[in-house]
Amino acid sequence: MLPLLQAAAASAHPLDGTAARWLWAVPLLPLAGFVLNGALSILPAYHAGPADPGLSHGDGHEAVHGEPHDPDSAGAHAEDHHVTRHRYAGLVSIIGPGVLMVSFLLSAMIFFAMRGAGGGAITEPFIQRYFSWMPVGDLKIDAAFQLDQLSMVMTLVVTGVGMLIHIFSVGYMQDDPGYPRYFSYLNLFVFFMLLLVLGGNYPLLFIGWEGVGLCSYLLIGFWFSEKANADAGKKAFIVNRIGDFGFLIAMFLMFANIGTLDFTGVRTAAESLPVGGALVTTICLFLFLGCAGKSAQIPLYVWLPDAMAGPTPVSALIHAATMVTAGVYLVARSSFLFSHAPVAQLVVVLVGAVTAIFSASIGLKQWDIKKVLAYSTVSQLGYMFIGVGSGAYVAGVFHLVTHAFFKALLFLGSGSVIYAMHAAYHHTHNHDDAQDMRNMGGLRQYMPITFILMWIATLAIAGIPPLSGFFSKDEILGSLFARAEHSTLASAHLFGVPGNVWLYLSWALGLAAAFMTATYMTRMMLYTFHGPNRTGDAERSHLHEAPWVMTGPLVVLGVLAAFGGWLNLPELIPIGKVGILDHWLEPVVGESTKFVVAGAPEASPGLEYGLIALAVLIAVAGITTAMLRLKPATLVPKREAVPEEGFEKVLLNKYYVDEIYDETIVKPVVGVSRGVLWRGVDAGLIDGLGVNGTAYLTRFVGWVGSQLQSGQLGTYAWVLALGVLAVLGAFGLR
């Protein structure tokens, strides 16, 4: 049991002595999993197939065919002649998901302890200080966990959804030669994510922040023998780094002006900072820069679509449910800062809204099923930022939770689809793209369970009542509209334009994005599951539902996505207990929320019902538009497809943003690095002047010295005379 620096606070906390004292075990269990799985991955174990990692473009099946194999190799596809299942795969399958299960159970126990101790009535966070981490001069940072209602929600989401995805991965990755390595990275990721959400101060949060970035890099580039995958991993890490720079600057500013970096300290100090002052605004803007990097907002979202190069469960966990939501968590956690900086909040809302519609438009024309979901994630993250940016912190977190449910479901469902497609292509040795929707179609008859669950998720994300997405999305847009009428943001000015203009604009963009969301998600479903099947006659017979180890988690997520809305029912739709999450998060963000809407009049129920109806109408309109205008029967498989033209081409090529970045930023930086820094400074200055120059100087001095031993008497006489001159001069000038 880790010793505590001080037994709780001066005043006893309601959570003292409860299960909460095992809080430290929640992140440490996945860490132990990482160590064990990592050890198992290093041991040379597998006896067939190529070395780690697999060489193909898909989920790990090797590209070389006809290789001789061991007749006793284990694995689900025993008849497959290049099975490469790891020898310790069984052990890893127990350790990997197992630690997550225990962690989740422990989190649940702590949650119940919290509920028992008062739940939303606990006003003080439960802080556990383990050791003094960085006492440096005036700066004292402890390794401390902060357990309050917000971090409890996040912990449950991370461990719960993480557990489901781990179980799914057991089936998905079972034939991959890098199986233990995969689970060790996944466990490490969960450890860092828990550090992020449980950290009691900004530096500890930052450790988690960086750590999840690292694991993201490791997992995106899991099949690193393909250069494209490795490049995607690098891109994610580097773009994230730009955001991290912003986060660091914010922390520096905080320390320089406030003097402390733990949440309670900053919260206390923030109350005395001038509202809308330059300091708070700057800190919040830099924090948001970090969020833009981690949570893929404009201009740093470019890594997320490329991150689809990683295994699909990774995309589900990291790039849908947990890592990308870290930015939203950060804003919610720093609510006491953001609510004091209306201009920064306007920026957040605006960026979120523009990102939402921008990436939704790109999603309308993508053919790769995972890319559609990636742009959808970016778009939904924009919604979350609209929520927390406008001061509706509960709405943002609510959407975070529901999004975790239905987006994970969508990704895992697409994982099942890709798994089936891959298996089919395997049997016929086809090398077509297993992820392209043009090669799919009519899968409803082969994968009925996945089909139903994916439709649940699609309707949820589109915002059809009574599924979870409807409630969360509607709450965001409703709160935004209310704040557009009256709030600290509406009274502020950004670039000279009054805040309420920006907020109404964002609301309109949000509605448009909702329309597009419904449209492209329906498009995805139509092309994948409806219509005729384009996979090919030979492969068709091999298409079937995924095993239960994969479909089981899908069912659980489906239930959550369907009924998750009950977490925070609005007052106008009291079909159950109203505002559970509102009350739960009240002690953490309630004060900041009230500050933002200071004195707003109660909205009339009529207006609210109207807004809700409008949202539903738009969702339905989007779905019907897609159904009417898109004819899956007219699609052809990818290899016969005609390239797009015009604006469709622009959308397909994601507005050429990557190319623009490449030309304007990457090429000049690389050029300067190569030309100036490498050739000029490194090779020329340091190597030439420093290293070679020193050698040359030494040789030169040696040469001069050698001239003194010439053996020439005349030279010696000269030196003598000069010496006499010098000595006499010294005497004379003394």
């Binding site: 005349g714 005379a721 000069l722 001159l725 006499l728 001069g729 004379g732």
Partner: protein, 192 residues
């Protein structure tokens, strides 16, 4: 007695003749030295050096060092320089080589160094010696007048400086042996 007295007068009342001759010998010594240094032919140079030594001998006599002056002529000019001339003639270097001097640049540099040393010597002569070390004026002349020119040197030579005297004789022995050994021709060894 009278001669000794007139030859070296007490300081402060030096007759013009004395001063004139002092300067004369000094200047001739310097001019001879300059000529010595710039002659191409070694024989000519040696002879000019002999002249310089004669002038120096004269100066020694005028400075109450009559014995040393005589020794100067006998040993330096008469023996050492003769040996030099012997060697010059032995090696048949009489006429001097073509490139026997370094170039003009070197000359200028050497001149600069020389003038530098000269200037520094002058800068250093500003010091004053303690009055307790200084002998009364004309003391050496009186001694010479009293006991003759050799006695003032011989007495310390055989009393305080006896050891140096004896060691010098060994030095001379060493020099003789060394000169003989070095002068031996290799051919004599083989001939044996």
């Amino acid at each position: 007695m009278q001669t000794a007295q007139t030859l070296s007068m007490p300081h402060g009342t030096l007759p013009l003749l004395y001063t004139f001759h002092f300067y004369l010998f000094g200047l001739v010594a310097i001019v001879s030295a300059l000529l010595f240094v710039t002659r191409k032919s070694p024989v000519a140079a040696a002879l000019w050096l002999v002249n310089t030594m004669f002038c120096l001998a004269a100066l020694y006599v005028m400075l109450d060092a009559q014995f040393i002056g005589a020794i100067q002529v006998l040993v330096y000019a008469g023996a050492i320089m003769v040996v030099f001339l012997f060697v010059i003639m032995l090696l048949n270097l009489g006429h001097g080589g073509v490139g026997d001097t370094r170039g003009l640049g070197w000359k200028l540099a050497a001149g600069a160094v020389g003038l530098g040393i000269l200037a520094e010597i002058f800068a250093l002569t500003k010091t004053r010696t303690p009055i307790t070390l200084t002998l009364p004026q004309g003391f050496t002349a009186q001694e010479v007048a009293r006991t003759g020119a050799i006695a003032p040197i011989a007495a310390p030579l055989f009393n305080e400086y006896l050891l140096a005297f004896e060691v010098t004789s060994i030095l001379l022995l060493a020099a003789v042996v060394g000169a003989v050994v070095l002068g031996k021709q290799r051919g004599e060894e083989h001939a044996r």
